[in-house]
């Protein structure tokens, strides 16, 4: 029985996925459970297994194609089965990622249009040479050769889009033929060379002497254009959307962590090892129940209140950042939270996180303390309305009862969406978090 293989929906918020790699070729025999292809979303890379046995008759979506969820990517069928009907019904777009993803790249700069193959642009040697000679960025040239390869003809037919912010073309400077040749050979901008009307070779030499503008070719600064990974594009889109659409204020306060330090030691002596992040997760989850406005989301003119706390914790990866969350954090003990946090951050780092852990968060904690951060203004992870930035904890001199004493001080930076959270509310929330950190016994209350 012929089966259409579709782009899976790997989580509630997933609308499309990049088919990053085929693990089988057309014509391969496939057993149920065989790894079939890899899907890259803005958050994860997943290996998708075949659900039906048969022969991989037709690959509809090529590598790097962005395919909407539940659209066909391939057909698995028996060797001689007629699959034309399935193929016609699929009609899935198979445009390369670059074109499909165009809306994501809101930047005015032209998106690369050359088809990429795991980040490589296929271009023949002569086409590459020609593109370099003409000063074209070949990642901008659509390839029409086999495998989407850019061939000589593509370069010849290509008209570069003029770079928008570039200075208007200067009127051509008059120069002697020799001067023009010299300028070209040693790469001097003729328009900058002072002259009495017509630039001569001597004018160029004088100019060079004066400005010492001779830059050897191998000392020239170079630039390299690389396409963002799917995750980086996701981060770029989410952060821009959040930053540009939300009126935010960042509030900074500090906590005297002396009692908290003792509290943590006591737990340790009792056989419970927790980190300060674990404690912050517990404290915030508790305080959020008291301040529902920081645990909501905004939908047009409506505020959606949530009676649960899914605590997101930002995890830095080698090549990006993701925010998995602990569901129902307000109902869990410190030990449970600590264990779950360890679990999701490990899963995040080795890429085995499930999609559901990546959506549905209600609040986020982002800890840069280990980098010695004094203060920062984190960007809210939409659709949440607040994020707590955690800074370094240092021994500082503070005044207590009129005396200078040394105390471990932790600085906290809360960014909140002013549409729902006014300054007084944010200050009260942060104050309450600090109150509990300074009196951990309140966790029992």
């Amino acid at each position: 029985m012929a089966k259409l293989v579709v782009m899976p929906k790997l989580g509630l918020t997933m609308t499309e996925g990049t088919l990053s790699k085929w693990l089988k070729h057309e014509g391969d025999t496939v057993a149920a459970g065989d790894p079939l292809f890899e899907v890259e979303t803005d958050k994860l890379t997943n290996t998708i297994e075949a659900t039906d046995p048969g022969i991989l008759r037709k690959i509809i979506a090529q590598e790097d194609a962005v395919v909407p969820c539940l659209e066909g990517v391939a057909v698995i069928a028996a060797a001689d089965e007629d699959i034309s009907g399935l193929l016609a019904s699929a009609g899935a777009p198979t445009a390369p990622a670059a074109e499909e993803a165009a809306p994501v790249e809101a930047a005015p700069a032209a998106a690369p249009v050359a088809a990429t193959h795991n980040g490589r642009v296929y271009i023949t040697p002569i086409a590459k040479k020609l593109a370099e000679e003409r000063g074209y960025d070949y990642t901008q040239i659509p390839g029409t050769g086999p495998n989407g390869r850019i061939v000589k003809k593509d370069v010849e037919n290509y008209t570069p889009v003029p770079a928008a912010p570039a200075a208007p073309a200067a009127p051509k400077t008059k120069a002697t033929p020799l001067a023009e040749k010299v300028a070209k050979d040693i790469d001097v901008d003729l328009s900058k060379v002072p002259s009495n009307g017509r630039v001569t070779a001597q004018d160029i030499l004088n100019y060079l002497k004066a400005s010492r503008e001779v830059v050897k070719a191998d000392e020239k600064p170079t630039e390299e254009t690389k396409r963002m990974s799917a995750m980086r594009r996701g981060i770029a889109k989410n952060m821009s959307d959040s930053y540009l659409s939300t009126p935010v204020v960042t509030y900074n306060m500090h906590a005297d962590m002396s009692a908290c330090k003792v509290f943590r030691e006591q737990l340790k002596n009792g056989g419970v090892k927790v980190s300060y992040t674990d404690i912050l997760v517990k404290v915030c989850a508790m305080v959020l129940k008291e301040f529902p406005l920081l645990n909501c989301s905004v939908d047009g003119d409506n505020i959606i209140y949530k009676n649960y706390v899914n605590m997101g914790v930002a995890v830095a990866l080698d090549n990006g950042l993701i925010v998995p969350n602990i569901p129902d954090a307000d109902k869990k003990t410190l030990t449970q939270l600590s264990a779950e946090l360890k679990e999701i951050s490990t899963a995040a780092r080795n890429g085995s996180l499930s999609m559901d852990r990546l959506s549905g968060g209600t609040f986020t904690i982002s800890n840069l303390g280990m980098f010695g951060m004094d203060t920062f203004s984190p960007i809210i992870n939409k659709p949440e309305v607040a994020i707590l930035g955690v800074n370094v904890m240092n021994d500082e001199v503070v005044v207590v009862n009129g005396e200078m004493v040394i105390r471990p001080i932790m600085r906290l930076s809360l960014t909140a969406d002013h549409r729902t959270v006014d300054g007084s509310e944010a200050a009260k929330f942060l104050g309450r978090v600090i109150e509990i950190l300074e009196n951990p016994a309140l966790l029992m209350a």
């Binding site: 023949t124 040697p125 002569i126 086409a127 040479k129 050769g145 086999p146 390869r149 061939v151 000589k152 003809k153």
Partner: protein, 322 residues
């Protein structure tokens, strides 16, 4: 003057034998009425007598070895190996003696000999009489290798092969023996000088021996599809006319290399690899290579045809580049 391919190579041998009594011919049945394996030497025995046109026992190793000695001591022997396939039994004489002596004796000895090797398939002669063993010979420094594809070249290349002071392997194609064509130039064709068989601008097809004509056929078919193919016949494999290839590639930027050898380890691989090394920046498509299937040549004519490359294979390879 119109003549057949084998007539042209015979005429060239006769011209040099008339001019120079040191030029001699040896091989199986070359003296007798059969005139060699396929009639290439017919009548030569009568003209030059049994001393200069010597029938030999069926022992290629012995008479090729004798020819190497004769060349080393002043004669200019031509050896006919009845089927090119039997070059395998004279490899020690060619590789370890003929190809090396001039080097090892510091130039005091030269080996001016020609080994004629009827090459290729298409006559339903079976696996041991149909091979194209170019690569066995081109691999050896000290041997020159030529491959005429038409009567004119059979004539001119034979003159140059006899005139050369080094051992020259002369690969004459069995299927081309009866091919008739104009021979109007009676000068030697210098070794290492290829020729453009038909001009084109979209793709270069480098083909050798009989494959030149399959390539020409392919060029016609491609022209019907609007693809202009240039066919290059290198004529000699060692030395090779790289300049001609470079000029053509500057124009076409694409190249298919065709020979009748089975593809694995064929000399076409050497051509393709050298193009990739020397002319990488001229390429607009990967170098394509066409040869026979990697199996012994079948005796059955239907199967033989399916193993050998043809113009359709060339057309398909070219079309894949666009």
């Amino acid at each position: 003057m119109k003549m057949a391919y084998m007539q042209a190579l015979r005429e060239a041998m006769c011209v040099r034998m008339r001019e120079n009594k040191n030029v001699i011919l040896m091989g199986e049945d070359v003296y007798g009425p059969l005139g060699g394996g396929m009639g290439q030497t017919m009548g030569m025995g009568k003209e030059f007598g049994p001393e200069r046109v010597r029938d030999t026992p069926i022992s290629e190793g012995a008479f090729t070895g004798a020819a190497v000695g004769a060349a080393a001591t002043g004669l200019r022997p031509i050896v006919e190996i009845m089927f090119g396939d039997f070059v395998t039994v004279v490899m020690d004489q060619l590789n370890n003696q003929a190809a090396k002596m001039r080097y090892m004796f510091g130039g005091d000895v030269s080996i001016p000999m020609v080994v004629r090797l009827p090459n290729g398939a298409g006559l339903r002669a079976g696996a041991q009489h149909s091979q194209s063993l170019e690569a066995w010979l081109t691999h050896i420094p000290g041997l020159k290798v030529v491959m005429p594809s038409c009567p004119q070249d059979a004539y001119g290349l034979m003159l140059s092969a006899i005139d050369d002071d080094n051992p020259v392997m002369y690969l004459e194609h069995k299927v081309l023996m009866g091919m008739r064509g104009e021979v109007d130039n009676f000068d030697p064709i210098p070794l290492g000088k290829g020729i453009i068989r038909c001009e084109g601008s979209d793709v270069t097809i480098i083909a050798t021996g009989k494959m030149v004509w399959d390539a020409m056929d392919a060029a016609k078919k491609l022209a019907a599809d609007g693809i202009s193919a240039e066919v290059i016949d290198p004529r000699s494999l060692v030395p090779f006319d790289w300049e001609l290839v470079e000029k053509s590639l500057e124009k076409t930027n694409r190249v298919v290399v065709v020979s009748e050898e089975n593809k694995r380890g064929a000399f076409t691989g050497e051509i393709a690899a050298t193009i990739a090394e020397k002319y990488f920046d001229l390429l607009d498509a990967p170098v394509a290579r066409i040869g026979s299937l990697d199996c012994p040549i079948p005796f059955s004519s239907a199967l033989e045809g399916s193993v050998l490359p043809n113009s359709i294979d060339i057309v398909n390879a070219v079309k894949k580049m666009f």
